[in-house]
């Protein structure tokens, strides 16, 4: 392998087979190099920011349709395709299809991609190159993962023998659903291990270099949320050994373009190879900020056939990235959806975002909204800057993990570099903070309410008995609020909701209607006679379940038949009249009890 050095083929027009922040990130570099950009999107995604930011755009039915993307690139006259991450980024077939169509694929060769895509063959290469791999086998604790997997899907940690079977079953199911391949691997699970990866780059002249490590130990649901470089757990000696191992591995397979060699770093200081990601990583800005390089630019240059010329790159200062996701930390990090009504990026950090005001966040795509990356000479300052950036950012319309990220960054374990991959934060909404946010929203709402006399303040009273109380709901909890203008909050109103932002936290606030939908609150109802008459027929029996509207009794009154119907659902508790009986107006006929309703 290694390949014959091709001629330098300058790229003039680049199709970006991706969306969101990474598509915008790639366009930024492309534009700085004078390369025209082509965006792709399905119809439903055509209003996403990446489409507007590109020089031109093409419609495809799906970001996963390789054929359509290649066709779009040809139609647009593009000479290269950048896959970004996710979607088709690690599809050897796609890379091959690009090559066959005469398009430069910005990434490794199809062969390398397919070799590394399977965890089993990747382990074999590592073994051959003398890079330690995590021992396989069924020794407990054990980690089960999908052979074709990534992103934490199909991954299970098993600590007890009796859990093995069920974990295998569920992991296999998840792997099949996610990757169409239920093959599983079993590895020894290393307690307290950190996730440390090394960025490598290879060119078409056989040169493979490393750009130091990234520590991605802080995760939730096996997905990274905070990444930094240097790793607080890596010494200079360890760094040299890990980076050497990564370069050795890269060289062994003639690696080209950007790649990431992932390692588990055990508390003992031993490290084990996990896998190679054959694409640009989400967290690549961390490396950019400590090296001063533009990795997308390097990717394009390598793809054009230029040689890497990176002697003397240093790891300078400290960079940390936090990923802002549309998700609900208090609800198992379930993805949240909605329209971004408020997006006010904060200061003090590089913010790579894929959203704008009005962006729809759907379940169709990855819920990553933006990446915040801070750099400073030292780790503490970088953490402080990143925290500041997150605190000063307002997002409204979709629930995010912003406040969760802030709590992680401020946690002692993280500050002291102790967070490992199974470290987690007990996160719950802070009730008193929510109350404060609700009070601020109440102030906004109260001021917003004006009446037919616009010059008279809302809630004006010449005899004020008490402050107006506004009932507001945050995440299912109702707060009784008094307008408080002293809170340092910003409030945006949109589509019936209020988005409150403060440096201490954020919330989506909704007004609880004063008069809830009128529903008969009674548990007990009687059907009464509306006028004097005679009972013709009784249509129900005691204990019979009835729905609202069901006929109960037929009366004859004024020579007409009249059907008496149930107003509430429940069971017939008692029949108070007999057939043929003469009844007075208002007389109770049938008693219905809804308390047994739950049985039905």
């Amino acid at each position: 392998m290694g390949g014959v050095p091709p001629l330098i083929r300058p790229i003039r027009k680049l199709l970006i087979a991706n969306r969101g922040e990474i598509a915008l990130r790639i366009m930024r570099t492309a534009r700085s190099l004078g390369i025209a950009t082509v965006a792709v999107s399905p119809d439903a995604d055509e209003r996403s920011p990446h489409v507007g930011a590109a020089d031109e755009s093409a419609r495809i039915d799906s970001y996963l349709n390789a054929e359509a993307i290649v066709a779009a690139a040809r139609r647009a006259g593009a000479d290269a395709v950048h896959p970004g991450y996710g979607f088709l980024a690690e599809s050897a077939d796609f890379a091959a299809a690009c090559g066959e169509a005469g398009l430069v694929f910005v990434g490794p060769t199809p062969d390398v991609i397919s070799l590394l895509a399977r965890k089993t063959s990747a382990r074999a290469i590592a073994n051959q190159a003398g890079v330690p791999v995590v021992p396989m086998g069924s020794q407990l604790p054990m980690l089960i993962k999908a052979a074709a997997g990534g992103g934490g899907r199909g991954m299970r940690i098993v600590r007890r023998v009796e859990d093995v079977d069920s974990a295998m079953d569920s992991a296999r199911g998840e792997a099949e659903r996610a990757f169409g391949d239920g093959t599983l691997l079993m590895e020894r699970y290393i307690e307290g291990a950190r996730h440390v990866e090394v960025q490598i780059f290879g060119d078409h002249y056989g040169d493979v270099i490393h750009l130091f490590e990234r520590d991605c130990s802080v995760q939730r649901r096996h997905q990274k949320i905070i990444e930094e470089s240097p790793s607080p757990a890596v010494t200079a000696d360890l760094r040299a050994r890990m980076c050497d191992a990564a370069v050795t591995l890269g060289k062994a397979m003639g690696y080209t373009n950007a790649g990431t060699v992932e390692f588990l770093l055990a508390p003992s200081g031993e490290f084990y190879f996990i896998e190679v990601n054959t694409r640009i990583q989400v967290e690549h800005p961390v490396t950019e900020m400590i090296t001063g390089l533009d990795l997308i630019r390097l990717q394009i240059e390598v793809a054009e056939g230029r040689a890497l010329n990176l002697a003397g790159v240093e790891q300078r200062g400290h960079a940390i990235e936090a990923r802002l996701y549309a998700e609900q930390p208090e609800n198992g990090f379930l993805p949240s959806t909605g329209t971004v009504h408020v997006w006010e990026p904060g200061a003090c950090a590089r913010i790579d975002s894929g959203i704008a005001r009005g962006t729809e966040v759907t379940r169709l795509y990855d819920p990553l909204l933006a990446k915040f990356v801070a750099w400073a000479e030292d780790r503490d300052t970088a953490i402080r800057k990143l925290t500041y950036a997150l605190r000063s950012t307002a997002v409204g319309g979709v629930e995010t993990n912003r406040d969760f990220l802030i709590q992680v960054l401020e946690h002692e374990d993280f500050r002291e570099g102790r967070a490992h991959t199974s470290w987690s934060l007990d996160y719950a909404r802070d009730g008193s903070r929510d109350e404060m946010l609700a009070d601020a929203a109440a102030d906004y709402i109260v001021r917003e309410r004006h009446t037919s006399l616009p010059g008279v303040p809302a809630y004006w009273r010449n005899n004020p008995a008490r402050d107006p109380v506004v009932k507001l709901e945050i995440a299912g909890t109702v707060h009784e609020c008094r307008a408080d203008a002293t809170q340092n909050c910003s409030v945006w109103a949109m589509g019936g909701a209020y988005y409150v932002h403060s440096t201490a936290g954020a919330a989506t606030v909704r007004v609880v209607p004063r008069f809830p939908e009128a529903a008969p609150s009674s548990k007990h109802e009687t059907a009464n006679s509306p006028m004097p008459g005679q009972v013709l027929r009784i249509l129900v029996e005691q204990g019979q379940p009835v729905k609202p509207g069901d006929a109960l009794v037929v009366l004859e009154a004024m020579k007409m038949e009249q059907t008496i119907r149930a107003k509430i659902g429940g069971r017939v508790a008692a029949i108070l009249v007999k057939q043929g009986q003469v009844v007075a107006p208002g007389q109770m006929l049938v008693e219905i009890d809804s308390r047994e309703n739950a049985d039905d």
Partner: protein, 532 residues
């Protein structure tokens, strides 16, 4: 229209003294008002809540639109009087319900079970006047034990008028909605009885002519309250109730729904635009208003703090200068303002009469800023026809048909009270500042006059003058009059619609004008014979 130019000196001793005095007076006002909102006190409030009921003020708040203003009328009625509490057991005022200006009246159920006192009767009568004069739909939030029995002699006979008024309003197409939250018995049963719409709260409303004990006494029939006059009985059987509410919020929701389908109020353009604020700070009114009614102050300084953009188009500025007249806008409403700048003279009276006629000709509402010691006295002025000329002003005020709103910004003495549209001249609304004093004349003068008369009588009867006794009785009389001239004495007796913070004057004028505009604003060109 030119803006007025203010020339007050905030550092002056008089400004500082007035400000300090007024601040203290407002502190007392706030305290009294706060007390007036506490119903029958902690124990009864707790008992009421324990029965799962909303407090009367909570009912009012829940009935009103969110964000609506509420101009409470006579919140301190009955204050300081025997057998009375501040507010007289009634909460009444103007606010928005379903976007419509309504008069809301609620019984203070935690105070003597919401029973009506004598001052409560006066207050109800005043509220009924407001409803009819301004054509405001009226919502009664009923929970009352009826007449305060120990004082029934003061209430029973005149109290009948209230029921008559409901039906007379109905005839004039001014609807009344009664929401019954609790007891509304005997005579009180005619509140729902006479109303156009009746809502009753399940398991709470009790409406009957006689309760179970009286029924047993009268006919021997044994009955319980729910069967005799419960909400379900009245909604299903007697038909007295039009709507059966599940609970209190449901009842208020229903009442709001009823208002929604009423014929809309007349459209008024002034209500929709945000008006320009006055150029000068309303806070300064506290230092402008004189704490001593004998010390005059420039009324234009007040106008500059209530008129839109401080703009005031003065009429006859060079003539009869003790009465300032002119046009302005207040919250967008075009108004004619008459303000005292000294004692009323022949010229100023004539000018005022002419101005009132001009406003009537153009259907412009009037605002009286009353700070008057009376008409000028003395031989020269009597010869100059001060009575004849003053009568012109009183004539014009009496016959005027455009809405008038009177603000007592200082003293109100003698016939000046009449000429400047005092209570007897039926302004639509009348509010007073805390520095307001009201009497036929100043206490000192009154006691002095009585002293002179007594001395004359003694002289006629050739009796000796006992100086000490005379001085003591003079002092006692002066003290009594002084006490009776106080604004709390006045407001307790419904001589006004409430004591207000001067800084609220502009908002109160806006709400008053807006309420007044629910009835057609039509001036008259018909006047009694002017004595020329």
């Amino acid at each position: 229209m030119q803006p007025l130019r203010s020339s007050i000196d905030r550092d002056s001793q008089s400004y500082q003294a007035n400000y300090a005095w007024m601040s203290q007076a407002l502190e007392r006002l706030r305290t009294e008002l706060r007390r007036s909102t506490q119903g029958g006190g902690e124990k009864y409030v707790r008992r009421h809540r324990e029965r799962g009921r909303l407090l009367p003020r909570e009912r009012v708040e829940m009935l009103l639109d969110e964000g609506s203003y509420f101009l409470e009328i006579a919140p301190l009625a009955g204050i300081g009087m025997e057998n009375e509490s501040a507010g007289a057991g009634v909460i009444g005022g103007i606010g928005l319900v379903s976007g419509r200006e309504c008069l809301v009246i609620a019984n203070e159920a935690t105070l003597k079970g919401g029973a009506t006192s004598e001052a409560g009767l006066w207050k109800n009568a005043r509220l009924a006047d407001i409803a009819v004069e301004n054509r405001l739909p009226t919502i009664l939030l009923v929970e009352s034990a009826g007449a305060d029995l120990p004082v029934q002699s003061k209430i029973f006979v005149p109290g009948g008028r209230g029921f008559r008024e409901i039906t007379r309003r109905s005839k004039l197409r001014i609807p009344t909605i009664a929401v019954v939250f609790g007891s509304s018995t005997a005579g009180g049963a005619y509140l729902p009885g006479m109303s156009d719409y009746v809502v009753m709260v399940k398991r709470q409303a009790q409406v009957f002519l006689a309760g179970p004990p009286l029924v047993k006494m009268a006919t021997g029939e044994i009955s319980d309250e729910e069967a005799l006059g419960g909400a379900e009985m009245h909604s299903r059987i007697s038909g007295l109730s039009d709507y059966l509410a599940e609970d209190e919020p449901d009842a208020l929701r229903i009442a709001r729904g009823i208002v929604e389908h009423l014929k809309p109020a007349p459209e008024i353009a002034a209500r929709r635009v945000r008006p320009p604020e006055p150029l000068y700070n309303r806070e300064e009114l506290l230092g402008i208003a004189s704490s001593d009614t004998r010390v005059p102050f420039e009324i234009r300084e007040v106008i500059a703090r209530i008129a839109d953009g401080s703009r005031f188009d003065e009429f006859k500025p060079e003539y009869g200068q003790t009465l300032v007249t002119g046009w302005a806008r207040v919250h967008g409403f075009s108004v004619g303002i008459l303000g005292n700048n000294g004692v009323l003279m022949s010229e100023s009276s004539g000018k005022g009469a002419q101005f009132i006629q001009l406003c009537n000709q153009q259907d412009i509402p009037l605002i009286f800023l009353q700070n008057i010691t009376g008409f000028m006295v003395g031989r020269t002025y009597e010869e100059g026809g001060i009575i004849r000329n003053g009568a012109k002003l009183i004539n014009a005020v009496s016959s005027s048909t455009v809405p008038a709103i009177t603000i007592m910004v200082g003293g109100s003495y003698g016939a000046g009270n009449y000429a400047m549209c005092g209570r007897a001249y039926a302004p639509r609304f009348l509010f007073t500042w805390p520095n307001h004093r009201i009497a036929v004349m100043g206490a000192q003068q009154l006691a002095g006059v009585m002293d002179i008369i007594k001395r004359d009588a003694l002289a006629k009867a050739r009796l000796p003058v006992e100086e000490e006794k005379l001085a003591a009785s003079r002092q006692a009389l002066e003290n009594q009059i002084e006490k009776e001239s106080d604004c709390y004495f006045a407001t307790a007796r419904l001589w006004d619609d409430g004591i207000i913070d001067p800084r609220d004057t502009r908002a109160i004028l806006a709400i008053s004008l807006s309420a007044a505009c629910n009835a057609p604003v039509e001036g008259t060109m018909e006047w009694g014979v002017f004595r020329h």
